[in-house]
């Protein structure tokens, strides 16, 4: 579904991503792991259209989408939940959700989808008319995911969804992601919480210093191996 080839992202003279290639197949959950500063967020942002890559190509469903803006990517079916949730605090939960559906052509189905998300995340129903800034961190994360899902994405990009959340909520988040796979949504997931990500994902890539240093299916990334990769070992790919 998604193919990234030789992606490079530069911030001025800093090369955050250097020649990254990866792919995500239909219905998979793919994890993007790595230490801080490895280039995971930049890679995701480039796919989502929030950044323009300096080099490389991004192909989605056979169409080349390199450098397409975020607005366009949403309409292609790629939605991102960025790091830190970034819900609109001064807008109500209802308005936040409706914004997720901005790009939808089938307006009639939207309210049904809103209902589905409220079923999935009951706390949102309770605060439906309140300003989103009133929600706790975990609740905001649920709102952010619900908002992204309202765009009916084919590919969902998640940047550190469990960051800063209490363990119980981390469970909720990962359960939700697993259920998304069951519903047929493909997920590309950036995570610091490597152990949970490794359990959940079908495949994982490990980034370090802007490049991919390992790729492995589920069950083959043990904690020691992961630790070594984070800290400096290089694997022959």
């Amino acid at each position: 579904m998604l193919t990234v080839a030789d992606l490079s992202v530069h911030y001025g003279r800093i090369r955050a991503v250097r020649g990254v290639s990866l792919r995500v197949d239909d219905g998979e959950i793919v994890g993007l792991l790595g230490p801080n500063g490895a280039g995971k967020t930049s890679t995701l942002a480039a796919v989502a259209g929030a950044l323009r890559p300096a080099e490389g190509t991004v192909t989605f469903d056979g169409t080349e989408v390199t450098g397409h803006s975020a607005e366009r990517m949403v309409r292609h079916g790629v939605t991102m939940v960025p790091e830190g949730r970034r819900i609109f605090a001064t807008l109500t939960v209802a308005e936040n959700l409706s914004l997720g559906a901005t790009a939808r052509r089938d307006r009639a189905a939207v309210s049904g989808d809103v209902e589905d998300q409220l079923e999935r995340f009951p706390v949102l129903r309770r605060y439906y008319r309140s300003p989103a800034g009133r929600l706790s961190g975990g609740e905001q994360q649920q709102l952010a995911i619900a908002r992204a899902l309202l765009a009916r994405p084919r590919l969902l990009l998640l940047d550190e969804p469990s960051l800063g959340l209490a363990p119980l909520l981390v469970d909720l988040v990962f359960d939700t992601i697993a259920r998304l796979r069951a519903e047929g949504i493909t997920v590309l997931l950036v995570e610091q919480n490597a152990s949970r990500a490794v359990e959940l994902a079908d495949r994982c890539y490990v980034l370090r210093g802007g490049g991919i240093v390992a790729e492995a299916p589920r069950g083959q990334l043990h904690p020691d191996r992961l630790g070594a990769l984070y800290l400096g070992d290089r694997e022959v790919l």
Binding site: A50, R75, S98, L99, T102, A103
Partner: protein, 294 residues
């Protein structure tokens, strides 16, 4: 007693003008972090359109003014501001300054520096007298028009999809784009609305003063931006409140300043603004925002 009522009416009228101008500036600032000095030139151009069309039936005159000003606002956004979107605040400020300067001098080439006069909406210069209070129809129309526009804007922002998108974009432009909001459309809409507000302001202004000159945009933009800053730049309710506060402030100064000091009204006002910016950079009405502590 009558002085009090007269004072309130004068203050409300002045406040309505300032609120209109302030809102136009706050709207753009909220979305783009740009203090648009050229907003004054929108008002100036509107006034010149009134000058050119004041003999037409008034609905046509108003329609022409709104159309011309909105068109100019959209052109301004597309040509001058879109290329520098996202640049640092100083660059944005200078860009708007440059556009303002450009338009003023273009107007000078077209109309020369000689002021013009136009008797727009003469019906409004009549007054109503109730007891010892005299209200001009113009004051009434100004206050009512402003109130109507404010309500309309509030409804637009709360009840329409584009309005919600605009509020989202003002809070977090990048995230709005990640939701699929078309950034260009939202910014253009904000400029268009600013244009409508400027056009309304210019029609009312010309009706009130009868005079049109190429530098007439300066005072409105200064007062408008001051009002918006008082209310906390970027906050729309703040801009409105700031406008009325400023209206009361300037009217008070006008009533209270002894004759010899009357000319210094602007000096007092802007020294006050200076003091305000120094003490409460976030605006009078905002609670002290997150100050970066090092």
């Amino acid at each position: 007693m009558t002085t009090a009522v007269q004072f309130v009416l004068d203050a409300l009228t002045a406040g309505s003008f300032y609120a209109l101008f302030a809102l136009g500036i706050a709207l753009i600032f909220g979305i783009m972090q740009l203090v648009n000095f050229a907003h004054g030139e929108l008002i100036m151009v509107g006034a010149y359109v009134v000058y050119l069309t004041y003999r037409w039936p008034w609905p046509a005159m108003i329609a022409a003014t709104v159309a011309a000003v909105v068109l100019l606002a959209l052109l301004m956004e597309r040509i001058a501001f879109r290329p520098v979107r996202g640049a640092n605040p100083a660059t944005l400020l200078i860009t708007s300054f440059a556009v303002s300067f450009l338009l003023q001098n273009l107007a000078q080439m077209a109309f020369t520096t000689l002021p013009k006069s136009a008797d727009a909406l003469p019906a409004l210069s009549r007054s109503i007298t109730a007891g010892r209070i005299t209200i001009s129809w113009l004051s009434v129309v100004t206050i009512v028009t402003t109130a109507v526009l404010l309500v309309a804007l509030a409804l637009f922002l709360r009840r329409t999809r584009l309005g919600v998108q605009m509020r989202a974009a003002a809070e977090d432009f990048g995230m709005a784009q990640l939701c699929g909001v078309r950034g260009n459309r939202v910014v253009a809409a904000a400029f268009a609305i600013g244009g409508v507000l400027a056009a309304a302001g210019s029609v009312l202004l010309v009706s009130q003063t009868g005079g049109i000159s190429i530098t007439m945009g300066l005072a409105p933009v200064l007062f408008g931006f001051t009002a918006a800053a008082v209310g906390g730049l970027g906050s729309l309710p703040g801009a409105v409140a700031g406008g009325y506060l400023l209206g009361f402030g300037t009217t008070l100064l006008q009533y209270a300043l002894p004759y010899q000091l009357a000319g210094y009204r602007d000096a007092f006002l802007f020294l006050g603004v200076f003091a305000l910016m120094s003490l409460r950079p976030g605006g009078l009405l905002r609670t002290a925002g997150a100050e970066v502590r090092v």
